[in-house]
Symmetry: C2
Subunit: 345 residues, 2 copies
DNA sequence: ATTGGCAGTCTCGATCCGCGAGTGCTAACT
DNA sequence: AGTTAGCACTCGCGGATCGAGACTGCCAAT
């Protein structure tokens, strides 16, 4: 099972097997391959090659006397070396464009729309993480007096991302005082990131106790990844999975749904997507989660500007049309980034 | 099929059939009934009664020589007249309490937690609508300058519910001017509802054009039900459905998922839940949506105070333990209301 | 009105069988 | 040495068959 380099013909055969299997979902045999893809060769020759590919672990057969099916390793080789680059069709581009036209001009709205349209055009489950805000610049702070000593802190970040948190002060403070304090804070913190704020916190004199309390809470609020909602990962399109024959057995679906609905574990996986790479593909058992044993992830990132970013992608059966999905994930990621960009100012 | 009043014994038999079927999921026959529930009677007698109940439409048999299964009509009679009131068990109460202890102190966070725990304790899909805010009082307004003539309006309503919207003014306005305007607006609108605001809008002189623009947008923002997110209905626990044998056929699930994931149609149904009634139950084909043909809804409302309310409930197979589900929906609704209450001040 | 008895109905699961698809091997061929 | 035709063999799948079991409806007796 060592890294066997494949000669040209074996590559072509592997590619043909994956193409065919992706479409039909049925193990593909030597005769079909000879007829559809390799007219110059006989089925016997192909049989020999197939046997080799099984031996080196790129293909497997469900049982003796059945056709061949790609293994995770086969898919990996395919996406790394064999896959033809595809471009999103005009129809798909139009779908995406139209979807975003009706999106509300808020970060949450746009991300939700992105999840929706990505699920639609890939016919899989889409995943979108909330943007990472620890390096986002603060645009505005407001303080609202609640009952007695409670204060509602409202924070506007780049991209009009709003965070709120409630703080309890040591003494009662009127709304007028709070407004004054907010005005002062605004002058001080505007345009800073949470990190910058943290380093400047120590410069405050000990007499500014309330300001310090508030700022500490502000930093905390930015750093905790979750916004006002608990779920860190948006998803859409679970209904699409039901159309794939690999999910007729419900127990597979159940594990997957659990993963999606609690989100925490998934968030961990998505966070590890490298920001520098283009599109990252994780196939089958390459996933650590057992629920994703028979699934693949196609992930990339979106940006709001250089400092605020998140992950976007899809999750589907390992038997998916990788070329197409990659193109479409990339398309939606770009469109999302473009749309989020101007919100920043 | 006219409204036949059922005599005492028929009622008891209907009740027994539903009890048994709810637990086993298997059509229940006369012998089982005689042995488990009516030791004084022979199976032959029960057979006669069963035949009557089929004739009047409360029961049906999947095929000749099978046991009986409740019809929608049977369930309806059961929940209206026969169902024993149940109380949530201490274990369940504790689960709910503990879940809410870790909830963030924001409306969204609490509602999400409510959906989560309700799904968990009912082992069905939970539904929670965002609170209806058209009659909520305004607590605070803030205006933030974006690029050139764009202004971000931030609105804090009762319960620290935050709404945001972007407006474009006729002329560029500095943040200082906006802050002054915000202070003035705060004095004017604090404690008012959108409706009250609307009626007072006409009193503004024509010279206050900008204020008018802003206030119009404020009203609109409050009235549109959706907050910053598109989905009006939260849901959780789809994974629970897969455990029910009625959903092993995936196509049923697909219709249901579609309904859940687009939400609009569902929102319509949930909005019609009467606020004065206690718990509303909608059974099988009583639903207008075809996707809910084999599902029941158990719904009630929650309140933040007298003016802000939403719907909360579950959706599951018609074969569910209604008594228990009703008790648990009621429990979570009450707990949610209690938790949301103090947020208001 | 209730009940025991009984014949009849229908589903469900197990078993069996034959078809067809596909393979691996061998021997011949280029 | 690589390729190919031929062939025997394997195995899954779908359909047909069948018997067991679960219930029923009906009838006659209580």
């Amino acid at each position: 099972m060592e890294a066997t380099p494949l000669d040209e013909r074996k590559q072509q055969i592997l590619k043909a097997v994956i193409s065919d299997y992706t479409v039909t979902g049925v193990p593909v045999g030597s005769q079909v391959l000879a007829a559809k893809y390799f007219i110059a060769l006989s089925s016997a020759t192909i049989r020999n090659e197939l046997a080799d590919l099984v031996g080196t672990g790129y293909l497997q057969q469900p049982h003796t006397s059945a056709g061949r099916v790609p293994t995770d390793r086969g898919y990996r080789y395919f996406v790394d070396f064999l896959m033809d680059p595809e471009a999103a069709s005009p129809t798909v581009r139009r779908t995406v464009k139209q979807a975003f036209e009706t999106a509300p001009r808020s970060v949450e709205g746009i991300l939700e729309k992105a999840a929706m349209v990505l699920a639609q055009i890939t016919e899989n489950v889409s995943l979108v993480t909330a943007p990472e805000t620890s390096e986002a610049r603060i645009k505005h702070i407001d303080l609202v007096s609640l009952e007695s000593q409670s204060v509602l802190i409202i924070l506007v970040l780049e991209g009009n991302l709003i965070k709120q948190t409630v703080i309890r002060l040591d003494r009662a403070t009127s709304q007028d005082d709070l407004s004054r304090m907010a005005a002062m804070l605004n002058r001080k913190v505007k345009g800073q990131t949470a990190d910058e704020l943290l380093s400047r916190l120590s410069q405050l004199g000990p007499d500014r106790d309330e300001q310090r309390q508030i700022l500490e809470r502000v930093i905390e609020s930015i750093s905790t990844h979750q916004a006002q909602r608990q779920s860190v990962v948006l998803h859409d399109g679970v209904r699409n999975l039901l159309r794939h024959p690999e999910f007729v057995e419900v127990n597979r679906l159940e594990e997957l749904l659990e993963l999606l609905e609690q989100g925490a574990q998934l968030a961990g996986i998505l966070q590890q997507v490298a920001f520098d790479k283009d599109v990252e593909i994780i196939i089958g058992r390459e996933n650590t989660s057992s629920g994703l044993r028979e699934c693949s992830l196609v992930l990339t990132t979106y940006k709001m500007d250089e400092r605020v970013r998140g992950t976007i992608g899809v999750i589907g059966p390992t038997r998916m049309h990788y070329g197409q999905v990659v193109a479409r994930v990339r398309l939606v990621s770009q469109a999302t980034s473009e749309l989020l960009g101007p919100l920043g100012n």
